[in-house]
């Protein structure tokens, strides 16, 4: 091809290119135009490939022409690209439409509260231990200093199971009425010092009503060594209750009776609904009973083979549903077990 013919051809290409670029209304169309005019299969590239076949004296001039062409197109491209990028991206979409449904589930409020409580103790070096829900009578009562035919068993009405016992010495099989049997199980197989929390499900034959359920959850705690005192128990629980109910929470410890602790205490917090003024939530007492606790009874240490003269420590237990009801303002415990998604999905 002659120089003139090439020049002519490049001029035509340049004209076509500038029209194409102007017509490209999207970045994709612009890219298509770039491929057409500058791509590896474009006319301009073909011309450049033909350069070596030109006579040497013309090569420089045609090469310059071709490069000028390329530069011009590239400049035009970049101008057009900038214009396109800046231009309005078409009509606005309705960004107020809801986003796509992303699969997500929720954890049950009882699970969440139980884990929240457990998580307060883990950083303090408490181990999390679980135990069986089907339990020996011995672990549920006797080892915890609750002798048979003793009125103290009355606070622990229990479901008995129709099962032949493989170990009659440990009595019948029951659904545990508290998480405390796990204390015994752990102390039987380990030596102090011990710091454990025990989350779990427990059962008591209380007919269902807004504040009672025959199945509920507890978190139990046990700390045993050679020095932990009642004052330590007060200190730890005060901190934990402040973490659960807020830093301003007022707590009080009052004497109570549990067969497996001595001294025993019940812990109240100032009513969360009325701040201690007295309302229907706290039955006008101004205080809400939150948990039971005390110093582990020496008889319990004896039952697990510890020397009661050498060890001491505390135990505590709290109802998870009760705390969840207080923090979420739930008035009926049965809501936890209806599993209505409208309830669960608020979590």
């Amino acid at each position: 091809m002659t120089r003139d013919a090439l020049t002519q051809q490049l001029e035509e290409l340049a004209h076509g290119a500038s029209q194409s670029l102007a017509a490209a209304s999207t970045l994709a169309a612009l890219e298509a135009a770039r491929v057409k005019y500058l791509g590896s299969k474009s006319e301009a590239t073909r011309i450049l490939k033909e350069l070596p076949s030109l006579p040497a004296q013309e090569r420089a001039a045609v090469g310059k022409l071709a490069n000028d062409f390329k530069r011009r197109i590239e400049e035009a491209l970049s101008v057009r690209r900038a214009a396109l990028v800046e231009a309005p991206a078409g009509p606005a979409i309705d960004i107020t439409l809801p986003g796509s449904a992303i699969p997500h589930g929720r954890l049950h409020p009882v699970t969440r509260m139980m884990d929240a409580i457990v998580s307060l103790f883990v950083p303090l070096g408490f181990e999390v231990v679980e135990g069986p829900e089907v339990e020996w009578e011995y672990y549920n009562f006797d080892a915890l200093n609750i002798p048979p035919d003793h009125p103290s068993r009355e606070s622990f009405d229990t479901f008995f199971l129709e099962l032949p016992s493989a170990e009659p010495k440990r009595g019948r099989l029951v659904l545990r009425s508290h998480t405390s049997p796990v204390q015994i199980r752990v102390m039987e197989r380990r030596k102090p010092p011990l710091r454990i929390v025990v989350p779990g499900k427990v059962f008591r034959p209380d007919p269902l009503d807004p504040s009672h359920s025959f199945m509920f959850h507890q978190v139990e705690g046990l700390m045993v060594d050679n020095r932990t005192s009642f004052a330590d128990l007060k200190g730890i629980l005060d901190q934990v209750l402040k973490a659960l109910f807020g830093p301003q929470t007022k707590t009080r410890f009052r004497p109570h009776f549990f067969p497996f602790t001595e001294p025993s205490a019940e812990v109240d917090i100032a009513c969360t609904a009325c701040q201690g003024q007295g309302c229907s939530t706290c039955q006008r007492k101004g205080w809400l009973e939150i948990m039971g606790c005390g110093m582990v009874h020496p008889n319990v240490f004896k039952a697990v083979g510890y020397d009661p003269a050498k060890v001491q420590g505390f135990a505590f237990g709290m109802g998870v549903e009760r705390i969840a009801m207080l923090t979420h303002g739930i008035k009926d415990i049965r809501l936890f077990y209806e599993n209505d998604l409208r309830f669960l999905e608020q979590c």
């Binding site: 020996w136 700390m223 007060k234």
Partner: protein, 695 residues
């Protein structure tokens, strides 16, 4: 325990208002649950814990208040003249008319001490208004002056009493003995009760006339005609009374106190007090007093070490401080010869104080729990925590994983109805029944999570929810092998799906299906165990055959999955299809693998080829996938099913599958020709081994 404020004030001087007193009592462990007004008088409602039997009386509470406020106790005997019968135990005093009774304890185990006072020529009538008011305030119905006195003294001293119409006793005889099989008695509540040989009764020469410590019988009841009384004050064995009351399903103010233990020293005091009041209110004369079985009181002694008490309570306590506190609580305190420790003699009414720690609690109560210090414990570090905690953390992570995949957690009843278990085919040999169920709705321990999740599903459907994805992680019980808790209980994961999977306006309208369920389970198993899940056809009682599977991983069965059968849908009145899976968490734990080393992504590009085939419906996907893998050899880096299609133009009984396959050599760039050769091998293998036609 109801305590009329004005009655309490008779025994202890105090300036506290009822509200202030309630607060103080609550803070020493006698919780006041309410203050009621009865005829304009405040009555405190006390919750007495099982250990504080001594506070099941007005005087007991007064004693506590006296100690609390450092005031003297003013018991009635200090103010009234001694009764004509005297307060000293008298063996027997026959009168001129030779009115005699025979009082005998045949069962020393059941009854340690029995005092019977014979009072003649009483005039039974109504009791005075002041006494009736107090009884009513305490929730006791006034009957007549004699019965009211026994109840009054019971409330006052906590010692249960009973008055018999002596003239109605056969041969003037009263024996404390066990019942004989076949004997029966109509108790004062009008119920005829058959007695068994382990029950303790009061009998006359012929028949039982009262259930000892529980309730009297109608045959010897005091009526307006009664002239002669035998007034019982006794000490019955707590366990015997408790067992009898339980067996008869009969609890009374009397049995309640005996079970918890009455003051052995109060038997005589209360007897004398009752006699005084009867003579005062009903006239008559004490003819005799029979005191049988009285033993000298052994004072319980406990050593208390001040140093150990200080360590236990976490506050320094001097022996002097402890001594002062315990003395105020009617303990007799002396320094022991051993030095340092205090020797504490416990008063007879505090039967709960038997060990050193019991006295620590007394000290702590007296100081006030709220005044004891509050400290943060000092503890040694332990590196064991991770081991014990791991299992809990894993169960929690499984729950979290389920929630992150789109399932919402349910917690369903662990106790279900027998027919619920039967409906899902879980009523076989391993079923565990509750011996004392609350109702038939909750009579067996669940052998599977299905019944509970089914109920949750039904409830949500019936309330108009159509798109449901629930899970539960919980224990089930099946009696199998050796019956010990560890063996019969296992943790399961249940999943139920119904309706659409997170539908929205952008087009997400995937209906729930077996494959959605399988996808969730596969992801769970991959994430939780680090291995792949497989399925095999299996039949379950709750699913239709052909729509259900056994779920495997690492060659072990880890659970089941399938579509709920039409029969179950019908029985449970489910308005739409649902899918269910249950995996054994223990099995999942067992196949958990350490995470594999992480590989750098391949540096060389893949060659991508698709293949579409038409297959007979009888050919299972697993077989096709295996054929492709084997034929492609190491070059096939990724094999993905991207489409499955049935219907025209695919002939009936057949379906079409399309796979996208990526070929790759980890060490160099693969040529198209090499990939094509592998792809050709796959096509041939599919044709020859699976009977596939290429599309």
């Amino acid at each position: 325990m109801r305590v009329p404020f004005e009655w309490l004030k008779e025994y202890v001087t105090m300036r506290l208002s009822p509200e202030a007193l309630a607060e103080r009592l609550t803070m020493v462990g006698l919780e006041v649950t309410a203050i009621e007004q009865v005829e304009g008088e405040p009555v405190l409602n006390l919750e007495i814990t099982p250990n504080r039997a001594d506070c099941l009386s007005i005087i007991g509470v007064a004693r506590e208040v006296a100690a609390l406020t450092s005031q003297p106790l003013k018991p009635p005997s200090d103010r009234r003249a001694a009764s004509p019968g005297g307060t000293k135990p008298a063996s027997s005093r026959p009168t001129a008319q030779a009115l005699r009774a025979v009082v005998r304890i045949d069962d020393r185990h059941g009854c340690e001490h029995y005092i019977g006072r014979l009072i003649k020529e009483v005039r039974v009538a109504s009791s005075p208004a002041w006494m009736q008011r107090r009884l009513v305030a305490c929730g006791v119905r006034p009957i007549n002056n004699v019965v009211d006195v026994t109840n009054y003294v019971l409330l006052e001293y906590g010692q249960p009493l009973h008055a018999f119409d002596f003239d109605r006793l056969s041969q003037g005889t009263l024996r404390v003995r066990r019942a004989q099989a076949g004997e029966s008695l109509t108790t004062l509540d009008g119920v005829a009760r058959s007695l068994s040989a382990d029950m303790l009764v009061i009998a006359d020469a012929a028949v039982p006339i009262a259930v000892a410590g529980v309730m009297g019988g109608t045959g010897s009841e005091v009526t307006l005609q009664t002239r002669t009384l035998l007034v019982e004050s006794a000490l019955f064995d707590p366990v015997t009374v408790r067992r009898t009351a339980r067996k008869l399903g009969l609890a009374s103010e009397s049995s309640y106190r005996f079970e918890r233990g009455v003051d052995p020293q109060g038997v005589e005091t209360a007897s004398a007090r009752a006699a005084t009041l009867i003579l005062e209110l009903a006239g008559g004369e004490e003819a005799a007093c029979y005191d049988v079985g009285a033993k000298p009181l052994k004072r319980v002694g406990v050593l208390v070490d001040a140093g150990r008490a200080s360590r236990w309570l976490g506050t320094p306590l001097s022996p002097t401080a402890i001594r002062t506190i315990l003395a105020k609580l009617s303990c007799h305190v002396a320094s022991s010869e051993a030095g340092g420790a205090l020797h504490v003699g416990v008063p007879s009414f505090r039967r709960d104080l038997t060990q050193e720690v019991d006295l620590y609690e007394e000290v702590a109560r007296a100081i006030g729990y709220d005044r004891l210090p509050s400290t943060i414990p000092i503890a040694s570090l332990t590196l064991r925590s991770a081991e014990e905690t791991a299992s809990y953390v894993r169960a929690q992570s499984l729950r979290g994983l389920c929630a992150s995949l789109g399932l919402t957690e349910a917690i369903t009843w662990s106790l279900i109805a027998a027919d619920e278990a039967a409906a899902v085919g879980c009523d076989g040999d391993g079923t565990v029944r509750v011996a004392n169920p609350l109702s038939q709705d909750h009579a067996i321990v669940r052998p599977s999570l299905l019944a509970g999740l089914l109920q949750a599903l039904r409830r949500n459907l019936s309330r108009g929810r159509t798109d449901i994805a629930l899970f539960e992680v919980g224990r089930v019980v099946r009696a199998q092998g050796r019956i010990v808790p560890e063996n019969i209980e296992c943790l399961q994961l249940g999943v139920v799906l119904s309706g659409r999977w997170f539908p929205d306006w952008t087009g997400g309208k995937t209906p729930c299906s077996f494959w959605l369920l399988k996808g969730l389970l596969s992801t769970l198993v991959r994430r939780f165990c680090g291995c792949e899940l497989q399925t095999a056809h299996a039949t379950h009682a709750w699913s239709d055959s052909g729509q259900s599977a056994a779920v495997y991983a690492e060659g072990r069965v880890v659970g089941v999955a399938g579509k709920l059968s039409r029969k179950l849908r019908e029985a449970c009145e489910l308005s739409q299809d649902a899918w269910y899976a249950e995996l054994a968490v223990g099995e999942l734990e067992a196949i958990r693998r350490a995470p594999p080393p992480l590989l750098a992504p391949a540096a060389f590009p893949p060659v991508k080829r698709d293949v579409s085939i038409i297959l007979d419906d009888r050919v299972a996907f697993d077989e096709v996938a295996r054929t492709i893998r084997e034929a492609a050899g190491a070059l096939a880096d990724r094999i993905e099913l991207i489409d499955r299609f049935t219907g025209a133009p695919v002939p009936p009984g057949k379906h079409s599958l399309t796979f996208a396959i990526e070929y790759r050599d980890p060490s160099r760039t693969l040529t198209a020709a090499e990939a094509d050769a592998a792809h050709q091998r796959i096509a041939e293998a599919l044709t020859s081994r699976c009977g596939a036609a290429l599309r």
